[in-house]
């Protein structure tokens, strides 16, 4: 145990050093470039305090920006899970559907969400634009990991159920799904990350004047880059926190595994 505590302390210490190194490098670059459009750490911190205290130019608080963006990611990511997991299971169980749909699905998944913007603008309005953009980012990682997890179900586990006369449905519910759950969950974690990264693109075209992505775009148009950087840092930190929460949930759910790989 002593070893573990000292190991944790070491990790924290190293991370503090890493943050300091990052800040110093940033400061050095800012000083050497000397551009009014590359704010240093102090200017960015001041901008953060201003945003936190007074909200943005329209008086929208930072909290509202964050909550709004989280709501959008929740909807897009939720929809991606709702469609991606069942579809992935069905496709995984009937591999012919994978082979048969390759020529359509594979090219689509390599189109970056940003490329969809013109079509989305034409076809969708309001909230559905955000949801669709985020869904695009999150759907394929979930679908692909779910499909890929099915062949890795241990056939011995299936035979354990078969020998006692279990039906196919029973085997799917009691062997296949519990077996693939950890991998599906890992896929969800990746998908949430991708979906969150798409938020800026989604809020570029969404129309509403709120959201962290929108905040970044608005202030960069006003050339108040230090405010944009605050938005960037917040997106980064929130992404990290969401990932951390999912890792903790994974550890709880799958405590039977020796270790959850991050």
């Amino acid at each position: 145990m002593d070893f573990l505590i000292s190991h944790n302390k070491k990790k924290i210490l190293l991370n503090i050093i890493a943050i300091l190194v990052f800040v110093i490098l940033w400061e050095l670059v800012a000083i050497s470039v000397k551009s009014p459009f590359l704010p240093d750490v102090v200017e960015t911190a001041t901008a953060f305090i201003d945003l936190a205290k007074n909200g943005d130019l329209e008086g929208i608080t930072l909290f509202d920006h964050i909550i709004t963006s989280l709501g959008r990611i929740g909807a897009g990511f939720g929809l991606a899970c709702l469609i991606g997991i069942p579809l992935g299971l069905v496709m995984g169980l009937f591999p012919i559907t994978i082979e048969g749909s390759r020529s359509v699905i594979d090219p689509i998944r390599f189109i970056p969400p940003i490329a969809w913007i013109p079509i989305v603008i034409v076809l969708l309005r309001g909230f559905s634009r955000y949801v669709f953009m985020i869904w695009l980012g999150a759907f394929f990682p979930i679908l692909i990991t779910t499909i890929a997890s099915i062949p890795r179900v241990n056939s011995v586990h299936i035979n354990v159920a078969r020998v006692h006369g279990a039906s196919r449905g029973y085997i799917i519910r009691h062997i296949v799904i519990p077996s693939v759950l950890p991998e599906v969950f890992a896929g969800m974690r990746v998908a949430l990350g991708v979906g969150w990264m798409v938020i800026v693109a989604a809020e570029m075209i969404g129309g509403a004047l709120i959201g962290l992505g929108y905040l970044i775009l608005k202030y960069s148009e006003l050339l108040m880059i230090e405010y944009s950087i605050v938005g960037m840092i917040l997106i980064g930190i929130i992404g990290l926190l969401m990932n951390e929460i999912l890792v903790q949930i994974e550890k709880r759910l799958f405590k039977w595994r020796s270790e959850v790989v991050v």
Binding site: N159, V163, H164, G165, A166, Y170, P178, K255
Partner: protein, 273 residues
């Protein structure tokens, strides 16, 4: 003379009448052009401990998989009470060579798993408490009652195999099929589990079909040992081991049986490959 021998063997079987449990008739299996099993015929009698012994790769596991209904036979049949085996109707249990605890269930839940399926398949209305009690009794039998709340990755390989045996016995099977269940264990654990299995078998008197390539294990456990040739597997000979259990592996009679089978297998299969 034969009649006398029969009487003697009946006597050693505790005078039990030899009832057929499973009959394997003219069983042949080929994978594409590769003939694996050739015209296998034998009967597994009720309450007997039958071992199948043969060189590695001869098709022992294939034979067991066909009996369990996992793969179809090319021709021939496997009958239980004169009808083809139906996994939903007949109570079969299987202990696999590979680790077959379900890792997401704890030890007790693993043992309950077989009972829960049976409950569902046979549309029995066994209460949750009854299943729990049966599972705990079964764990008690293998000496792992205290480990109910452990997850498989928290216990040793030998213990995991005992959990599987508890699970497979809990459903009160008509026949227990075992595919080299102790094959991957170290010598001490193997000997301990062999002893334990024999103890349980003596208590419950289950029909067991046990596949192994380990001759000593077969002579230690079995009432009869069927020897298969190398591929395509045919039955070369059936040995009856009329020694009182538990057997002393160092006794001259034991050694004699062992040597006899070893020599037979050697003459049949001078080269391993």
């Amino acid at each position: 003379m034969k009649f006398l021998f029969k009487l003697k063997s009946d006597f050693l079987n505790g005078g039990a009448k030899l009832l057929s449990e499973v009959q394997i008739e003219n069983l042949t299996k080929s994978f594409n052009d590769l003939l694996v099993l050739e015209n296998i015929n034998f009967t597994i009698f009720k309450d007997e401990f039958l071992c199948i012994c043969g060189p590695t790769g001869c098709g022992k596991t294939t034979l067991l998989n066909i009996i369990a209904g996992f793969i179809p036979a090319t021709s021939g049949s496997v009958l239980m009470n004169q009808e083809p085996i139906d996994l939903r109707k007949h109570h079969l249990s299987f202990v696999f060579q590979e680790q077959s605890c379900l890792p997401w269930k704890n030890v007790l839940e693993n043992v309950k798993f077989g009972l829960e399926i049976k409950n569902k398949v046979l549309k029995q209305k066994i209460s949750e408490e009854e299943i729990d009690r049966k599972a705990k009794d079964s764990l008690e039998l293998v000496g792992l009652r205290k480990f109910g709340n452990f997850y498989p990755n928290q216990i040793s390989t030998g213990m995991k195999q005992m959990v599987v045996i508890a699970r497979e016995l809990s459903v009160n099977p008509s026949i227990l099929l075992m595919d080299e269940p102790f094959g991957s264990l170290d010598t001490q654990t193997k000997e301990f589990l062999q002893k334990k299995l024999l103890e349980i078998w003596s208590k419950l008197r289950k029909t067991v079909l046990f596949v192994t390539h380990n001759i000593e294990e077969a002579v230690y456990l079995a009432d009869r040992v069927i020897i298969l040739s190398k591929r395509p597997a045919k039955i070369i000979k059936t040995f009856r081991i009329n020694l009182k259990k538990p057997r002393n592996k160092l006794s001259p009679e034991f050694m004699k049986h062992r040597e006899e089978i070893t020599n037979l297998l050697k003459s049949e299969n001078p080269k391993i490959f």
